[in-house]
Symmetry: D2
Subunit: 352 residues, 4 copies
């Protein structure tokens, strides 16, 4: 049994990991910290947790907020973990951060990312970057060991795209210059904070593309694809919001290289994902959609090629709050704490 602390407990990423930790057999949730909603209990803020998690939400400067825990989740926006992770690490904790703060292992890479999202390009804890691990077990499982102390959890759009693209790049199925990711997310991806674009009346029968100038998650995807293919990869990425709560549907396109056909494509995807418990492959005749991964940590990939245009088309389905956030974070925790990778996660969602 290990202890866990959640920083940023009040947001969707916070409540998501709290829900998962409550049902995990090897973790005891001991401390909740947040900047807003402090002074109330978690179950006052989230009444569905009444009787399940009545811990108080502590402000960061509360003495109990700095109590040691075996694992600390930073369910916080960019800029928080880079400031606070060191203190947790020094107390012996393992740290898993949701933000971009520890997704990059060099200050230069971080600066690129930070610049793109309009933040100070200078990382405040550059010495920690080299030991951070990109928290994507499907590609970096061997780096996520009990020696790992610091994990940068993957961005929600990024993880759906990476899992769908990786075999194609790894096995050179497609032209690296032809990649397009057309991604549709439910509204919960924008978090708990109300805003004009997520107000029910302005969202309920509305779809729109946004951040066409560049979404921050593209950098991660391109870096991972470049690493897999051994060459620089740039891709077109179009984030969109649709009137759903949970789910990311990513349509991934790439022009097939010569000699590639549906058999070679399937062989590549089967091979790449053969040990990935949370990835399932489907063909285009199976009617898969986001509701089938809703509430679970699974990524469902539909593998298809468009013969007429010689194009690979992979459709990736995840729950943005699970495989796209808290679920993936727990998967990382399992690995770096020495538990079975799918402990507490081997569960389907509820339908409908």
């Amino acid at each position: 049994m290990i202890t866990a602390k959640v920083i940023g407990a009040g947001g969707y990423g916070g409540v998501g990991i709290v829900e998962l930790l409550l049902r995990h057999p090897e973790v005891q949730l001991t401390t909740l910290v947040a900047q807003a909603d402090v002074g109330m209990s978690m179950s006052t803020l989230y009444p569905h947790l009444t009787g399940f998690c009545d811990l108080p939400i502590l402000p960061p400067d509360h003495p109990d907020a700095s109590a040691a825990a075996d694992v600390v989740f930073f369910a916080t926006p960019d800029g928080v973990a880079m400031r606070q992770a060191r203190a947790e690490l020094e107390q012996g904790a393992k740290v898993i951060d949701y933000s971009g703060d520890f997704r990059f292992r060099t200050p230069e890479q971080y600066a690129d990312y930070a610049t793109r999202i309009g933040r100070d390009p200078k990382h405040v804890a550059p010495d920690l970057l080299p030991e951070s691990v990109y928290g994507l077990a499907e590609l970096h499982r061997t780096a996520l060991t009990t020696d790992t102390r610091l994990v940068g959890n993957v961005g929600c759009f990024a993880i759906g795209c990476i899992l769908g693209l990786a075999p194609a790049l790894r096995f050179d199925l497609v032209d690296r210059g032809s990649l397009i990711c057309d991604c549709k997310t439910g509204v919960s991806g924008a978090g708990k904070k109300p805003g004009p674009s997520f107000h029910y009346p302005s969202r309920y029968d509305h779809m729109n593309a946004y951040r066409l100038t560049g979404h921050q998650h593209v950098i991660e995807v391109e870096r991972e694809m470049s690493a897999l293919s051994g060459d620089d990869v740039a891709l077109t990425f179009t984030p969109q919001v649709v009137p759903a709560c949970r789910g990311i549907l990513s349509c991934i396109y790439g022009t097939l290289n010569d000699g590639m056909d549906i058999e070679t494509v399937w062989a590549a995807y089967r091979e790449f994902h053969k040990d990935n418990h949370f990835v399932r492959l489907f063909n285009r005749d199976q009617p898969i959609g986001t509701q089938h991964v809703r509430g679970s940590n699974y990524c469902f990939l539909t593998i298809d090629i468009d013969d007429r245009t010689r194009r690979l088309r992979v459709i990736s389905h995840i729950d943005n709050l699970m495989k796209g956030q808290a679920g993936n974070a727990l998967q990382n925790m399992n690995l770096i704490c020495g538990f079975p990778e799918h402990l507490g996660l081997h569960q389907p969602g509820q339908y409908p």
Copy 2:
């Protein structure tokens, strides 16, 4: 470890109990039976169950469909269990039926019910009725023992109303002639079968009342309330559908008897529900809604009185597919199989 069979596995009631049984530590799901979608596996029909429940869906006349199981759930409409329960009971099974077939202990009561819903008033297994138990632990826990073989699970609207009304009738808080239940359900209450009124475009921004001539669940509510109050109770019941998937919000009104005030009301509700794990009480300042019981077996009751009009107002929130159906069925199973009442059910839903 006991074995379970689900008849009517393909509907929402079927998939609901399958999901719950998969996570129950003492039950092994062995047989799925349905009339539609036969020949495919459960996970082909419900892809979210891929790898969790790949059992075939057997037609009723398949030899394996009649294999014995320790507990059999009839997730079927009226008229099925009354025909098939005997065979299961004779094989030693305990039977839990979702429909109205075994909610009444005399042929006369059943005939009343059947007439109201336009069915043949003659029950085909009248000799089984006396041993059936109305599956509502909160009122009839002592009758749900390991000796019980046959349970009639409560109607979805009925359970929300009964839990909200029972203390008022038991402790004579309100005028028995003044009761109104104004009930709003999500669309999943209508089941899996598509129809014009549940087609997305005709439902998405639409609320309507229906069956104003009389909903079948009223009979159960009136019978239970009559039993509690010791006198005949008739009430006005207005079922409505709103554009949500899960949830029933019931507003329950009754004119307070002389001498009753908010303190006597609270005392009555606290006393009545003090041993009911799945009922939680809230006051009107706590912002409760159906999303807070979504995916869980809890009933949240907001207790309020309108001083100006001397009226009790109780707002009852359930998930129609959990406490209103599969969750309550599992709670019944736990009791009649000798497990802790909340085994496999002590879990909150996922938010948002």
Copy 3:
């Protein structure tokens, strides 16, 4: 052709009246004023109006904001019109206010209302109150004449309840002490301002009751019902929000007086509403819901009695932004400007 100014143009009430004025054959929209979003055009704020209404949104202190218009709509919250109406009236305008500022004709009545909603009970323009008219043509058509200068538009919940209750009180069909209004509104009733309770993820599968301590619109309903019945009327009112955008479904209950039956009820409703173009009556076998009044100025009433409990049950359906707000305001404008009552409003919504 008359000219119109809209103050508070940026909110849902503002854009609603702008849309209606654009298609009205006798009105030219000349001035838009708001406190937020100033400096942009109406069509930048509401892109669907591109090419239809590209007028600038002026701040209140802009010189052009005080230009004279024949009719001025205050699509503003409480407290604005009482401060600014006089200046408009003095310029010769007719004024129609959406808020509670001019729904009451005496400072005492206003004080009651203001106290209930937590505002200063002192009206800042008490001398204007006696000439204000409650803007409900169906009850006060004869008071809405070309001599009328100042109209207090009805509250959205109030209008649905009043139209459904009025015949019952006018013709003494029900016990005045037995009235309950159970009202469900779509989210647009809360206006354009984002908030936690209207954030898409926290609203999409969520129903809840709110303001159980008392909603401000009750006062209007009670006043009108008291006037019709000649005696004080108090009623229980339960506002609820459901995951829809537009629509209010109000279930109205009252215990029938002796001698009243479905025929006397129908006779009363037909008589009362015989000249009310925007009210249509239906019986309980007609499948009516809020989608059928969506986008139009109609109120659809389902007339029913529950024989078993001797209770009148009227189900009232309106579009909260049309008959509940802008549509009704335009209807008032037509009357006080001498146009046919339904000019520019005789149009159904779009389905689905």
Copy 4:
């Protein structure tokens, strides 16, 4: 004033054109025909039309169903108009068909289309094909004259893609082999008939791609693009359904040819659409989505290029039931009947 008949009046395409004809100043709706729901009035089927359109819905074999009208809309699926159009034409009517029956001018082209959708490749009225006109004013306005008797209205996905792609092909902005259309539709695009995939509970939080083997509308898009570019064009097309009622959001991608930049792109789009009243152009900084065309006949195009990948990205927004169906049909009617192109259509939708 001309008279109009609607065949297939009971579906969404039927009620859509009925709504539009009711507000058109030069048309009188005289006859409604359908195969289902016959014997009831239009307003019984669609209660929002009560008092606006109470015409009976006639079965095709009713004597009055064959009454002559000046214009006849076939709001019917494939195979109906090809059988019945001749009789209407011979009575002097102009015919506008929603289906694919008259979108192709040669039996060979039709056979290609019919084969793809699994229908008999043999057209039953091949002699009518040469005089049919593809009903897309933005590309074929000069062919839509008062001499035109027979129009094949454009497919809903096709029209959004064509309007977004046409300038790029016409002005050779992009590589013809690089085109991808990633298209998301609301559920109303599937019509009024209930089905498992459009049942509210299985759709409300669900996105999915479908018909990956080939959607019938692709043929139209490719034919039009081939004609504009002077060479065969094949493109990848991915239809998706999202939980909305109305709206199609199409993301259109193509690799820019050498020398093309954002200025040349804008010049091309401005030039191509300069006379197209119902097409509006926006840049990527303007927050446009489907709600802004909801209920109107407009197509909003966001013009963008992704500099890093040298790719054109156009985002096309339409209301699938308006510009994608009934609205475009009325626009065609205006042209072939000699009315101003936007008569009865120059109206924004209602927001929100």
